[in-house]
Symmetry: C2
Subunit: 199 residues, 2 copies
DNA sequence: TTTATTCTGGAATGATCATTCCAGTATTTT
DNA sequence: AAAATACTGGAATGATCATTCCAGAATAAA
C-alpha cells in the first residue's frame, strides 16, 4: 500500500522518535528505522537527506509532541512553583514504562551521543536546554514577584538555569535508575530547594 | 620496541581513558585506541578480551586515578559541606580544557551510551553513582551532626542522592556548556541548597 | 649464543552500517 | 483506460568496525 504525500507523515516521526528515545541516536540504525516505522528505506531517503536530517526532524517533533504538552504549563503566563512541581511529577510518571524500565529524556540521551561536528543536532539540543532554562526562570520570576521574595533577576536566572541542569541530571540518571520512586525523591529535593530559595 | 609485561601498562589505560573521556565509549574505535595509546592491536587483544573488557578496565582506572583524587576529600572522615564545595570547584576546574571545551565526566558521558546488555559496564556506572551518593550522604550526615541540624537519616540519604543526581546533571551538561562559568553558577546553586537544608 | 617469550605491523575476515539505485507495484490524476 | 506520480522491496556499494591471525622483530632467559 503506497502512502500519500499530501498527508504529513506524523506516524513516521512518532515511530522514529520512540526508537531514538529508547536506544539513542547512535543505537538506532536506518535498518531499525525501516522496521520500526514501516516506511521503506527508499521513502525515508526521499523525504529526508539522511539519518542526521531525520533525527533533526524527530527532535523538532519531540518538542511539539512531548516537551510542549509537559513543559507548556511552566511556560504559560502566570505559572509559578506549582507548575514546576506538576511538570516534574508528570514527566516522571510519563517516563515510567512497565516493560523496558525508564526512558529518560530524548534530549538528555542524545546530549552525550552526538559529536560536536553534528552542528544541526547540537543546535537543537542547546535550544532545548535554553527553552527549559528560560521557562523555569520565568516561572520562578513570577513566583518571586507574587511572594515578594525579593530575588534579583540575576539570582532568578541562575536558579532557573540550575533547575534545568538538575532536571537534566534526573532524566539522564533515569536511564539506569532503580525505579520511578528514586526520581520522585530527587525531584522533591529540587522542589524543596526552590521553595526555600523563594522562602 | 617490545614492552615488558612485568610492568602494568598504566600508560595504556591512561591514554585509553583520555580517548574515551573525550569522544565517549561509542565514539572511539579500536583503531583510534591503537593510534592514541601507541600499543599495537595485537597487544591490546592479548591483554584484554575485547573493547568492552578494556573499557571496564578504563572505568576502574578512572575511579582510582580521577575520582578518588577529586572525591576522596568528600569520603574522608570528618568531611562536611566544605569538602563538597571543594570537590565541585576542583572538578569544574579540572574539566576545563582550553582547546576542546569541556569534557564532562567519563561516567556521565558513558551513562547514555552503553546498552543495557553490556552488564559489566552498567554495573560499574551504577557503582560509581552509588559511590558518590554514599560519599555525599556521609559528608552531609557529618555536617548535620556538627551543626545539630536535626535531619533524619532518611532525609540525609535523600539529600545525598539528590546531590549525586544534580552533579551528574552538571557534568553531563558540561559537554555543550558555554564555559566553566556556567558550571560554577550551577554548582553554587547546589551548594546554596545544601547550606539551606542544613541551615 | 641459543632458545623462549613478548610485542609489532599489517593483512584478512566477517559483520554492520549509511546511502544509492532500480525494476516493479500501487495509487492518483487526466 | 492511460499517463503520471508515489511508494516498495531488495540488491548493490563503499565505508567502518571489532576481532583474528601470522610472520618477523625485539627482548629476555638459558
Amino acid at each position: 500500500m503506497a502512502r500519500q504525500q499530501s498527508q504529513p507523515r506524523q506516524d513516521l516521526l512518532t515511530s522514529a522518535m520512540v526508537s531514538f528515545w529508547r536506544h539513542g541516536y547512535r543505537g538506532v540504525s536506518v535498518g531499525d528505522l525501516v522496521r520500526d516505522t514501516g516506511v521503506s528505506r527508499s521513502s525515508l531517503y526521499s523525504d529526508y537527506a539522511g539519518k542526521e536530517a531525520l533525527f533533526c526532524a524527530v527532535l523538532d517533533h519531540y518538542q511539539t509532541q512531548v516537551v510542549t504538552p509537559l513543559f507548556g504549563r511552566v511556560e504559560a503566563a502566570g505559572a509559578g512553583l506549582p507548575a514546576i512541581r506538576d511538570y516534574l511529577r508528570a514527566a516522571i510518571v510519563g517516563e515510567a514504562m512497565p516493560e523496558r524500565g525508564l526512558r529518560g529524556c530524548l534530549v538528555c540521551t542524545s546530549w552525550t551521543q552526538v559529536d560536536v561536528g553534528e552542528a544541526e543536532v547540537v543546535a537543537r539540543l542547546q535550544s532545548h536546554a535554553a527553552r527549559l532554562s528560560a521557562g523555569f526562570t520565568a516561572a520562578l520570576t513570577h513566583e518571586n514577584t507574587q511572594r515578594g521574595a525579593g530575588l534579583t533577576p540575576e539570582a532568578l536566572a541562575a536558579l532557573g538555569h540550575y533547575t534545568m541542569v538538575a532536571a537534566q541530571g534526573t532524566w539522564t540518571y533515569a536511564r539506569f535508575a532503580d525505579g520511578a520512586e528514586e526520581l520522585h525523591t530527587a525531584a522533591d529535593a529540587l522542589l524543596d530547594h526552590l521553595e526555600r530559595a523563594l522562602g
